[in-house]
């Protein structure tokens, strides 16, 4: 029994946003949850998976988000309640299916739970999924605090069943990964019976064919459904107003910006001057509600993250309502009051709000600011991202760099998404030179591999993780093989979806629920496609480099090298040292010609630091993971390793 399945209605708990969403789904009697790991969304599936037996759920880490969406949809077609959980990139992957799903409609309540990452704390983009709701013409709900994260998720199923269409619930990192107090509701006993009715008339929404065709008919129907949602939004408890009857300034906001706006009003002590309209139903906007609050004042501050969505939608309504409510002055992104990139925080609301209210606000005394900034610059060296101590990727890229450099043909790596994306950085010896989306490393390399006819002689090497291989690389690899593209794919197999918290994937013997699953063999798949395949342990430098040299020699066709070594943070490995490391200070050449600090200057493992008194390297025993790789790196053999019993 975990907190999430506790039956005590009215109990108060401290929950992470994602945990609150999971609880909301449980309180709604969800039956099926599918997703693909993606920060900041992963904990929703993880928490539901932990209670899957207890709460009678089927929870799946699907091979990719498109399939996850399809799996969740099937449950909905079979009259069960389901959710598909993903991060912003995942929605892009699933969007083709979702477009058609929004046209075909659903049966059991189905939610798409999209967790965005404004500020790109764990992504290489800050895409905004809210726009999909408008594009796909489905309702959009955004919780503005932790209680709403639960309550809204629960209610969203009712909305979905009322409309017979999929509903999008959108969260952001600062809600999903933050924690706050949540009061629990009732946990129902729900009978979950799966039945797909299909023997009725073609167009029957409950017993017909589930498809988005005939398009004009279904599209009009979809728009009518959306109009029903707007009616429900007009008096939704998720749109709240706090503040004076006649405020000087009205803040319109949603999502985590609600919390920042509240904070700003509190700090400026302006709750008698500023009204806060927090919208939870952000697409489509309920026009009557907006009319009521837009009438209250002429100064409107719209607070949201990244590119304008709320702003544009409010402005359209305001323009239509202008004859009734007058002309408004908006402070938002288009006039520069709020930035259109990076995440928001309380100060980014305090500053424009103080200006509008004519308040002189000083966050910190000026001398404190000057001194603290000076001290931070000199006293707090910035922390570059790096592979963990003991990470097999550090060893893999060491060898890949070695081989590409010695091959001397300006070879390069087309990177992909995972911890190994850091191959772009010094921690991965800057080997990766392109980096986009899941599977795109192999796709892009497949393209490079055909440019020989235009004089391209540089070897293109794609990398991917074991999870990424299944997610999106397989079609790209098939493309390369079929077209005889001259590329090498290196699969960095660390036995899990590591970046996001070590979740399982189709290459492993276990599923999200911890139950036995059939493992697909990456080597067999590549070989059956017709690629030339070899395997090595990345911790064995000589063998790995020789195998890669040998594969690069084979000019025609696709080569695959699987580098297999488990992630340092996996439950099997974490906290267990294989070796005890030691440095012979007399043998260390350090800063001299012949070494020039190869280990600390280039390998840069956090567990191997520089002792500036002795002018040698030193093992930091609090951090060293005992993988033994640095012993293979030292040109003088000054680093030794002893196996731990």
């Amino acid at each position: 029994m975990t907190i999430l399945t506790q039956k005590e209605k009215g109990a108060r708990h401290l929950l992470m946003g994602n945990e609150a969403i999971a609880r909301g789904a449980l309180e709604a009697g969800v039956a099926v949850a599918a997703g693909y790991p993606g920060t900041p969304s992963s904990e929703i599936i993880e928490n539901l998976a932990k209670v899957s037996d207890e709460a009678n759920l089927y929870v799946e880490w699907s091979i990719n988000e498109k399939v996850a969406m399809e799996v969740a949809a099937a449950a909905s077609f079979a009259e069960l309640r389901s959710i598909c959980v993903l991060k912003q990139n995942g929605l892009n992957v699933a969007s083709d299916f979702l477009l058609h799903l929004a046209g075909s409609g659903t049966r059991g309540g189905m939610l798409v739970i999209a967790c965005d990452d404004p500020g790109a704390l764990s992504s290489i983009n800050e895409g905004d999924t809210r726009h999909f709701a408008r594009l796909l013409e489905i309702p959009l709900l955004e919780p503005g605090d932790f209680q709403e994260a639960k309550d809204m998720t629960k209610w969203a199923f009712e909305l979905s069943e009322m409309m017979q269409n999929v509903v999008m619930v959108r969260s952001v990192t600062r809600l999903s990964h933050a924690s706050g107090n949540v009061v629990f509701g009732e946990l129902p006993e729900v009978e979950k019976k799966a039945r797909f009715r299909h023997e009725g008339f073609f167009l029957d929404p409950n017993e017909g064919v589930v498809t988005s065709s005939p398009v004009f008919y279904k599209h009009e129907l979809q728009q009518k459904k959306l109009a029903k949602a707007v009616e429900a939004f007009e008096d939704s408890p998720f749109n709240t107003y706090s503040g004076p009857e006649n405020p000087e300034v009205l803040i319109i906001t949603s999502s985590a910006c609600n919390l920042y706006s509240r904070e700003a009003i509190h700090i400026l002590e302006a709750k008698d001057r500023v009204g806060l309209l927090k919208l939870g139903t952000t697409w489509p906007l309920p026009p009557k509600l907006l009319e009521k609050y837009l009438s209250k004042t002429d100064k409107i501050l719209i607070v949201e993250e990244v590119i304008p969505f709320l702003e544009e939608n409010v402005k359209i309504l305001a323009m239509e309502l202008a004859p009734k409510i007058g002309i408004k002055t908006f402070y938002a992104k288009r006039d520069g009051s709020i930035p259109a990139f990076n995440e928001m925080n309380p100060d980014l609301v305090i500053n424009p709000l103080a200006k509008i209210l004519g308040i002189d606000y000083e966050a910190m005394p000026a001398e404190y600011v000057a001194q603290s900034q000076d001290f931070t610059t000199t006293g707090a060296p910035a922390r570059d991202l790096t592979f963990c101590p003991g990470c097999p990727h550090r060893a893999s890229f060491w060898s890949i760099n070695h081989v590409l450099k010695l091959d001397n043909n300006q070879g390069f790596v087309c990177g992909d998404i995972g911890c190994y994306s850091m191959a772009m950085l010094p921690t991965g010896f800057s080997t990766a030179k392109t980096m986009h989306a899941m599977g795109s490393g192999t796709g892009v390399a497949s393209g490079f591999g055909k440019l020989g006819k235009f004089g391209m002689e540089q070897p293109a090497v794609a990398v991917c993780g074991d999870s990424t291989f299944f997610h999106a690389v397989i079609p790209a690899l098939a493309n390369a093989v079929h077209h005889k593209s001259d590329i090498t794919l290196i699969v960095l197999d660390n036995s899990g979806t590591a970046m996001t918290g070590f979740q399982p994937h189709p290459g492993l013997k276990v599923d999200a629920q911890g139950k036995e699953a059939l493992d697909l063999d990456i080597q067999a798949i590549c070989e059956s496609m017709g690629a030339k395949v070899d395997i090595s342990d990345p911790f064995e430098f000589e063998q790995t480099q020789q195998k890669l040299f040998d594969l690069l020699e084979l000019k025609d066709g696709v080569k695959v090298l699987i580098l297999r070594q488990i992630c340092a943070l996996s439950p099997e490995k974490k906290g267990k040292k294989k070796y005890e490391m030691a440095i012979d200070e007399t043998a260390c050449m350090g800063e001299n010609c012949g070494c020039n600090r190869l280990c600390t200057r280039i390998l840069r493992c956090p567990g191997l630091i520089w002792d500036k008194e002795k002018n040698t390297s030193k093992i930091d025993e609090a951090i060293c993971a005992g993988c033994g790789v640095c012993a293979s790196v030292c040109p003088e053999g000054a680093i030794s390793r002893k196996e731990v019993a």
Binding site: N401, H402, K405, L406, D407, N408, F429, F549, C593, G594, C595, N596, L598, I602, V633, P635
Partner: protein, 348 residues
Amino acid sequence: MTQILGSKELMAQVRNKDLCTACGGCVGLCPYHKAYKGKIAMTFDCDMAEGRCYAHCPKTETDFEALSQRLFESEYKGTPLGTYRRITAAKAGPKMAGDRFQNGGTVSALMTLALENSLIDAAVLTGKDGIVPEPKIVTEAADVVKCASTKYMAAPTVACLNEGAGQGYTNMGIVGTPCQLTAVAQMRLNPLNKADFKDITALTVGIFCTWALDTRKFLDFLKQRVDTQKITSMDVPPPPAEIFVVKTADETIEIPLDEIRAMVPNGCSICPDMTAEWSDLSVGAFEGKPGWNVLVVRTEKGGKLVDQAVEAGYLVLDDFPEESLQHLNLGAGNKKKRAQENAERMDS
């Protein structure tokens, strides 16, 4: 004294300008310069202000005066053949009778004796893996002849000398081309003034060289014309024949020299040294006398070894006629001139 810089400057002045001839003088000293298939690359950046890599490189500025003083204790004169005591014709003597040589076998004979009489504890020679040159450290006299015959392809032989020093040999011999021995000579100056520097080079034998071939380009070229596994010999017959001859078990292929010259590394065009001036002894093919070598004795040590070799039956000497000497001078002088012209053209 020339200025010693670091690998950043080495890359800028030599490698990135395509002047590297892969002599290997920078390889085996550190983890950054490594050789693979006849080409040398840097695995990572090195930001040392002064490095042995730069100091050893024959394509960075060379202090001929310093080398001359170190090796010969005399002034540098800039003559076409460099400093020498005597030049003779030579070939392997009766003690080497069981072996077959491309030319005279003089180098093999000298190195075999040097190992046998422990003048050196190891010899750095260029062996072969098929037809691909492979530098190696040889400690058994009987293994010397396995490394015989002209390689034509540039190989990073000096890397082995650097590695041998690391392995603890203290009296190494090396057979090398002019650029390789220039690197060795610069190394012996202790360019970084290290207190713990040891000169582990006991014997240097140079081989004449007008040009070498880029290993990778040449191998690709050959692979398109012949099964490289079956090649038994390669040779450039003396002028006026302008051909390169490749023999396999089944056939003999003649390739116009012009096609071959297209694969000469750029760096060879600025090399002023035809007869390997910075050595104890230098050996080349005696074009006028097939089956014989030209042997140039430069140092006292070299001379002593030659005398020993003759006495012990390893070497047979003969006169080197004046005409041949003039011819040799002309050839070496022309190489120096071409090098000067090419260097000036590159700088402009």
